[in-house]
């Protein structure tokens, strides 16, 4: 009897097992998606509620234990390690008599140094250290990062405190293992440079904090995925400003010549 009825009448009625299973399938898919949405909403809500401890924990992953062993009497500073702020930290450590030797790790001079627009890091560091009472005999210049490794090899019983930006500690520790080997790397103590603006517990509230954590996360990931550590050979200049200026002047001269003709 039902086979003779029009489809319009049959629509919406349960007429057989095939349609029932289709309806169940649709219901199952809908409830599955609802469940997924609910789980996502709960996760996002939890992340929002507990964002502070989560972000703090993440930032702590980028650091290493940086307690200063009182028996270590040598501190190393460099542009790519802790930057200019590490100079004042080294001065403070020397002033408190916690170190008696300062190693300055040099960098490849860049375009600004060659143009004498900026002093090199080692020149600035030497000047400030001497101005603040550190004798020249206590200052040693090391030729770039391999120089630090050579110093550790020549002084097999010595340890050194290296001043580094807080969120770069983990990256530098990994890079040192890769560059210097386990023995030399084990004799390096990493010391975080204090930053008044933010720390691991509030970095996300500051633009510079977000940028720093992001940068150091990428650097660490790059090293962990087999990338080479950033070395100061990255500072080699492959753009010639003089050539650029010459070509621009030549191009403009040619254009002016064409316009006149």
């Amino acid at each position: 009897m039902t086979a003779h009825k029009s489809p319009a009448i049959l629509k919406g009625t349960t007429i057989g097992p095939a349609s029932a299973s289709q309806t169940d399938s649709v219901r199952t898919k809908t409830s599955r998606w609802k469940r997924r949405l609910l789980i996502t909403a709960v996760c996002l809500f939890s992340l929002s509620l507990f964002h502070a401890p989560i972000l703090t924990t993440y930032a702590l992953l980028l650091t290493v234990d940086s307690s200063h062993n009182e028996s270590v009497s040598t501190v190393a500073i460099g542009q790519s390690l802790g930057g200019p702020t590490s100079i004042t930290e080294a001065v403070a450590l020397y002033g408190k008599q916690r170190v008696d030797r300062v190693l300055i790790v040099t960098e490849q001079p860049n375009r600004l140094h060659q143009l004498e627009v900026l002093q090199t890091f080692e020149a600035t560091a030497q000047r400030i250290l001497i101005e603040n009472g550190v004798p020249e005999s206590a200052i040693q210049i090391l030729h770039r990062r391999p120089g630090l490794c050579e110093w550790l090899e020549k002084n097999p019983k010595s340890q050194v405190v290296v001043m580094v930006h807080r969120f770069a500690l983990q990256k530098e520790a990994w890079a040192a293992e890769h560059e210097f080997g386990a023995d030399c790397a084990s004799r390096i103590q990493w010391q975080a440079i204090a930053d008044d603006r933010f720390d691991a517990s509030n970095w996300w509230q500051h633009r510079q904090g977000v940028l720093l954590v992001f940068d150091e996360s990428i650097s660490l990931a790059h090293i962990l995925l087999g990338g080479t550590p950033e070395t100061d050979s990255d500072c080699c200049l492959d753009w010639d400003a003089d050539q650029y200026e010459e070509e621009l002047c030549r191009t403009v001269g040619l254009q002016m010549g064409r316009k006149r003709h």
Partner: protein, 195 residues
């Protein structure tokens, strides 16, 4: 399976795909005759050199600089402020002091620089301004400057300055290159949402 296949395909074609990631961000134009050149903060190793070249080539007579918010290093007197570095580079490269103008106000972002230029142009109208920034930064710069200066009758030209050792065909091979492009894409999304 399809996902793994896509990942493998992306990996195998990385030397073709990855440069596109960089090229997408570079919308720079060749330098041309302009009334002013604005040099954006954040790239002292190349940007002021390009601006100086434009002055030396006779493309402009005036270079605009902005005052970046101070860093702990500059506040402690360990390094000069960024606009001071830019000024020194320009002077060393043959730009005269009267060709250098510092726009008042402290800036902390590209958006702030666009607002500073808008304020400057309201009292110093111009037909054309070239904005010098690094190649990866040009797309976001063009977008935000066009938006902020929309009501001003000024033609903008975005001129790129390179980054040493980092190019479209090798940016993924160094941590610095990955940082630059990853940060720029994140900032682009942020700017799209925020401004």
């Amino acid at each position: 399976m399809a996902f793994m296949g896509s990942i493998c395909l992306l990996y195998l074609s990385r030397s073709w795909c990855l440069p596109l990631v960089a090229h997408f961000l570079d919308v720079s134009e060749p330098p041309t005759q302009v009334d002013y050149v604005l040099v954006l903060n954040g790239g002292p190793k190349t940007r002021p050199f390009v601006a100086a070249a434009m002055v030396k080539a006779g493309l402009t007579n005036a270079v605009l600089l902005t005052t970046a918010s101070p860093t702990p290093d500059s506040e402690a007197g360990l390094v000069p402020p960024e606009q001071e570095i830019y000024s020194r580079v320009l002077l060393k490269r043959g730009v005269s002091a009267d060709q250098i103008h510092v726009i008042p106000g402290v800036i902390a972002s590209t958006y702030d620089e666009a607002c500073a230029l808008a304020r400057f142009l309201k009292s110093n109208p111009a037909n054309s301004v070239a904005i010098v920034t690094n190649d990866f930064h040009t797309r976001r710069t063009r977008s935000i400057f066009r938006r902020v200066l929309d009501d001003l009758p000024v033609r903008l030209r975005i001129v790129s300055a390179p980054v040493d050792n980092i190019r479209a065909d090798n940016w993924w091979q160094s941590a610095a290159g990955v940082k630059i492009y990853a940060t720029e894409y994140c900032k682009s999304v942020y700017y799209r949402l925020r401004y």
